[in-house]
Every structure is written in C-alpha cells, then in structure tokens.
Amino acid sequence: MKKIIALLLTIVMVFSLAACGKPTPNTKTPSPSPGDATQGAIPTEPVTLKFANYAILETGYEDFWNGVKEDFEKKYENITIEWVTAPYGEIVNQVINMAGGGDKVDILFGEIGWTPVFEDAGLSVPVDTILSEEFLDDFYPAMLEACSINGRPYALPMYVSPFVLYYNKDLFTKAGLDPEKPPKTYDEMLDMAEKLSKLKTADGNKVYAFGQTTASVPISGAALTAMVYNFGGRVLTDDGELDADSKAFKQTFEMIKLLDEKGYNPQNAKLKDLRNLFALGQLAMYYDQSWGYNGASTINPDIKNFTASAPPLAGGDGSGESILQAATLVLMDNGTAQKQALRLLVEYLVSAEVLNDFLAITPAYPARQSMKDLEVITKSEILKGAKDSLDKTMPSAFVPTLNDINLELCTLAQSVTVGGKSVEQGIADFKTAAQALLE
C-alpha cells in the first residue's frame, strides 16, 4: 500500500510540472501599414489595454497616473487600462520577457533612448500605423524625427526637454555672482566655478561648482552625448557610424577631465546623486532633463526658492546644441480592437487637458505645437531661463546598441577622470569598444 501511495504521489508531481507550461501565445497578426481600421473608430466590445508604466511606482506620479486611468475609463466605458509595472531599471526587460512568453503589452511609457531596443526587437510599430495623420501633424516635426528610425516614428514624444542647466541662485549671490546671469559658455562657467568652489555649506561641507553625470548608467551616456553636442560634435553620424575623431569630441572629454582635476564635478555621480547634492545646496550648477527638478524637489521642497534654469553651454566651436530627451509612448500591435482603443488612449494622454495637470507637477515642454502657449509652461519660473533651449536640440542617430554605446561613453568619462588615463588613450579605447558594438 505504501508503495502505491508513493507511486501515486510521484505521478501527481510529474503531471503537476505540466502546469508550469507557458500560456498560449498571442497569435494576433500585426499589421504595420498606415491608415487602417483604427482611424476614427471606437471599439464596440470591451477591450483591456496593458499599459507598461514604471512611473506609477515613483513618488509624486502615482496620483496623476491613477487619475488618468480613472478619467479615461469613465470617458470610454468599454476600455479598461491594466497597469504592468516594474521599477525604472527593469521595465524594458519586463516588457520583453512578457512578449517572449506570448503576453505583449499594448503601450509602454518610456524614454526616447529605449526606442531602438523595441524597434530592433520587432515589438513596437510605427505610431503612424495607429494614430491619425491629423493628430500627428500637430507634433513638432523635429520631435517626431528624433523618435524616428528609417524615417518612421517608432515612439511618440509625450513631453520633451534638452539637458538644461539648473543653477542655485543663492550660491551665485554668495559667490558674488549675478544670479540673473548664468554662464553661456564653458569658459564663463569655469570662471564662475572658481568662485563657487570656494564656498562651503552652513555645516561646512564642500560645494561642487558644476555637475555632469558620468556614472555607469545609459542616461549618463545620453547626458555626455548632449555635452558633445554642446561643443558642436557628434557621437554617431546620421548613418549610425562612429564619429569620435572630431576636435569637438576631444574637447568635451578634456573639459570632463579638467572639471575633475579642479574638483568641480562630483566624481562618478548618477543624475540622482547630482539632484541630491543640488537639493542640499552642495552643487551650484548641473545638467539634467527638465523633469529631473522633480527628483530634487522631493528631497528639498524649498529648492523652488533658489532654482533657476539656463540653456546648455556652448563650448569650443559649438553653439550649445543639445540632444532631445523625451518621455515617449511606445505602441505595440495586438489587433484591430486593441489599436482602436490605443488610439483613443494616446490622444487622451497627449491632450492639453491631461498634460496641463502633468506639467504642473513636472517641468517639461509639450511636443505638440498647439500646446506651446499652455499657461503652465509660459508661466513656469523654473523653465523660464531655458525656454529657448529647445530651438537648439538636434536628433541623434538610433542604433540598436545605443544603450551600450552610452555606457561606453560613461566608461570613457570615468577613464579620463577616476581612471587617470589621458584623453587620447581614453578615446582610443572608447573607439575600439564602440566600434565592436556597431559591427
């Protein structure tokens, strides 16, 4: 009898393994051609949209996104939004892993730098296959171009910003500088930095004059790319080839090295470290996406009293160009009904009605021309100084290994600072590593 029971248990265990099998894959066929059945139609049957969104887990944004869900579902009663959440650093892998298991989300709230990953994976579809021409015509062409691969927009910018210069007006005053006259060039910045770096905080801590992120995360690489643009250089050509032999590219990393040697730039810092130091009054100036202000203000709400913004600095022969940073919506094709619902959701999300609320809590610029005069933008004290910076943003080429190229840029910055290498050696090593990624 014992043997029979043992055998039965064994059989149960073996068969229970079958329960671990993956769910039936989504077999709906994608249809990536523009102008199909989604235009103008409203789904007649109940539809659930899977919305991958890391921001809902972040302090300060939960109420906004839950409000969006509630209001949208009220407006379109047969459409339900189902959140798919993961922290910022994990959401891309989460969406890819789900898709690999046959469970593809419909929409992802992400960053412009993620666009080539989803395009290369064959997950995202050009947004013009889902959204109407009339709706897309309202977007600044340069902003749609910045999200395009082979001439097709594979992500929709929801709101945008270049890397702007945030500075502490109180520290400027303390250093005997005019708080209404931020630097316009790197040379001016270095002159001011000399005075600012002599300051101490009330509790005797060092004040860093200038912050440029160089830590090993892709967004730091994007910030370094923007700095190369400030000097008039490029990291990649429009064709996605490496462009690291220019004088501007070298000047950028000479500046990074100089800032480190003078002790102006906190070493190997992430953007969140810089936001922290800025909020605590230990950093006089730093580059950040405009919405990075939110991260600093959650640490110290009083920063609104001393923060001002300015356009990116001009260096070398450059004129202070920068790259566009954007919070984007990546769309995926799960069949006609889903696409119809998706069109309604995107049009709702990127509307003045919704973005007005969002931009009230997050300083950023709208990507739609009809929203340029939104009061929340025109009257923003934080964005006032950097308002012309969008005119100097340039699209940067997308390659599938963009994130890795960005990490190699961080390695280059680290090698010439904490690594003690010469700029020439650092660039040579970068070229070897980056070239291998592009092959």
Binding site: L7, T10, I96, G100, N268
Partner: protein, 314 residues
C-alpha cells in the same frame, strides 16, 4: 487462496518480476520527478545556452520565434578581441579569492569565539545572522550610502582618523579600490552563514578527543591543527565550495553598487554577461560569456576538490 505457512491470503502480483528488479523499478519511479526537474530546469537550459553561444541570437528571435543564426565562434572571438572578457575574468578571480579567503578566516575566528562559552553567545549568534537575512539589494544600498563620497559614514571616519588629511575618500569611485569596497560588502553579508556552519561543525568535535589530547600535553594550537581542523574538514570543504560558487556568481551587489564601473574595474563575468545579454540585447554573446563563466567555475571547483581531497577522518 490461503498461504498455509503464513496463514494469510496471497495477493497476485500484477507483473511477475523478481523482488530486486521490482525495487529498482520502484526506486527509479520515485527518482523520476527529481530527474525530470533536473533535466527540464538545469540540463536543458545549460545545453540551450551553450548552443545559443554559437549563434547570433537577439531579442527579435525570441519575439518572432525565429531560430538564431549559427555564427560558429564569432561571439567568443569578439569577446576576446574586445579585451573585456580578460578584464572580467581577472576581476572575477580577484573578487572570489579576496572574499573567500577572508570569509573563511573571519568566519573561523568568530566561530571559535562563539564556541568558547563566551558571555551572551546565544544572543550574539542570533543578531550575527542579521546581515545574511537582509536582501542583497538592500545590503548593496546600505553600503553605497556608507561609501557615499560626499556624506558617507566611511568618508567621515577616514577624515576623522586621518586628522583631516584625507577629505575626499571615495572607495567606489576609485578604479583601484572599487572592487575592494564591494568585497567588504560581500564579506559583511556572507561571514554570518560561514560562522554558523563552522560553529555547527565545531560543536561536533568530540570532547573526549580534546580531553585526551590535553592529558597528553597538547597545547591549544596543536589541538586546533591536529584535532579540530581534521574533524572540520568536511564542513570546511562545503563552506568554501559554497563561498566560491556564491561569489563567482555574485551579481546584484556589484550591479547595484557600481554597475561594473568605474572604468570597468568591477566588471566581473556576471556583470559582463548581463551587459551583453540585456543592455546590448545580444543574447548570443551573453550566452558565450555565461558558457566561459560556467566552465571556469567547474574547473575551479574540480581543482579545489582535488586539492582538499575526499578522505574524511575516521
């Protein structure tokens, strides 16, 4: 039918087999779940990973269901040419050696102290396990804050003990000290378990042997090396094997604390594998790193087992 000798009914066997053969079949059937689990979740993924390491296999292959394109040794050649692999192997071995040696030494010292009827031994044993219980990510965050270059506790103490001579101590920002910083965090987390296992081994060393040695005039050192250590041999072997494997595959601590930087100084094989597979989205190349990593780990464990031998004390 009644068995006269036993006085109870005889049951007919369904399939007439010898008792020994029946036992073999029965035990094989009982082993089946473990066998299926091992093949499904260990052998198949390993073989699959090795196959993919010879392919150009990317995320689009997973999404579209298309098989990867066979590219012979291209992934391996590219890795060796980029010099990242050699750097990662050196970083991995440096990290494993540093942590495993110190983990064993400190673990043994603590175990001996706790075994010597020290006051509050039971209480110390309880709180000692706290770092081991803390999730690795949290440990990494705690140590990042400790090493924080502007307001970290370590920077503060270095400033105080150097009399203000060192004001910019930033362990994780220096290419020469970053791996050491992660090693310290790993030691903090892993020493408690080592201590506990060694302590369990120490408590099994027979008292009569120690008493006999004392009567024969053996000192503490002689007793430790001639009686305690040989008795602990099997425990030590397991403890060090576990430490080698745990540190060879250490990923969350390194990724959270430095992301492989600065200047790739903390890019171990685990970090390189993740970067290739999930940052570059080149799963074939990630699998190539993993295959090399697995082979190295197997070689290390085999050498280690050879060195320590298999004989136990009688």
């Amino acid at each position: 039918m009644v068995n006269k000798s036993m006085g109870r009914p005889l049951r007919k066997k369904l399939i007439p087999v010898k008792r020994s053969t029946g036992d073999i079949i029965f035990s094989s059937l009982l082993l089946l779940p473990a066998l299926i689990m091992t093949i499904t979740f260990i052998i198949v993924p390993i073989v699959d990973s090795v196959i993919k390491s010879f392919q150009d296999f990317r995320i689009k292959n997973i999404i579209s269901g298309q098989p990867g394109e066979w590219n012979n040794f291209a992934n391996y050649i590219k890795l060796f040419q980029s010099q990242k692999l050699i750097g990662a192997i050196i970083a991995t071995f440096s990290f494993v050696l540093f942590v495993v040696i110190l983990q064993f030494i400190f673990g043994m010292i603590l175990a001996l102290i706790l075994n010597s009827k020290v006051l509050f031994a039971r209480f110390i044993r309880s709180i000692m396990m706290t770092p081991w219980v803390v999730p690795t990510i949290i440990s990494a965050l705690i140590w990042m804050w400790m090493f924080q270059p502007q307001y970290g506790l370590v920077k503060y103490f270095v400033g105080v003990f150097s009399g203000g001579a060192i004001t910019d101590f930033a362990m994780l920002n220096n290419t020469k000290t970053a791996l050491l910083g992660i090693g310290i965090a790993a030691l903090w987390k892993q020493i408690p378990l080592t201590t506990l296992l060694l302590l369990a081994g120490l408590q099994n060393v027979p008292d009569d042997m120690l008493e006999a040695a004392t009567i024969d005039g053996a000192g503490r050192t002689r007793k430790f090396f001639s009686i305690v250590l040989p008795y602990l041999k099997s425990v030590i072997k397991i403890v060090i094997s576990m430490a080698i494997i745990a540190n060879f595959k250490q990923f969350p601590l390194i990724w959270t604390m430095t992301g492989g930087g600065p200047d790739n100084s903390t890019t171990t094989l685990a970090v390189l594998s993740y970067r290739e597979a999930f940052i570059s989205n080149n799963l074939g190349s990630g699998a190539a790193v993993t295959t090399i990593w697995m082979l190295l780990m197997v070689v290390v464990i085999v050498i280690y087992n050879k060195l320590l031998g298999t004989t136990d004390i009688d």
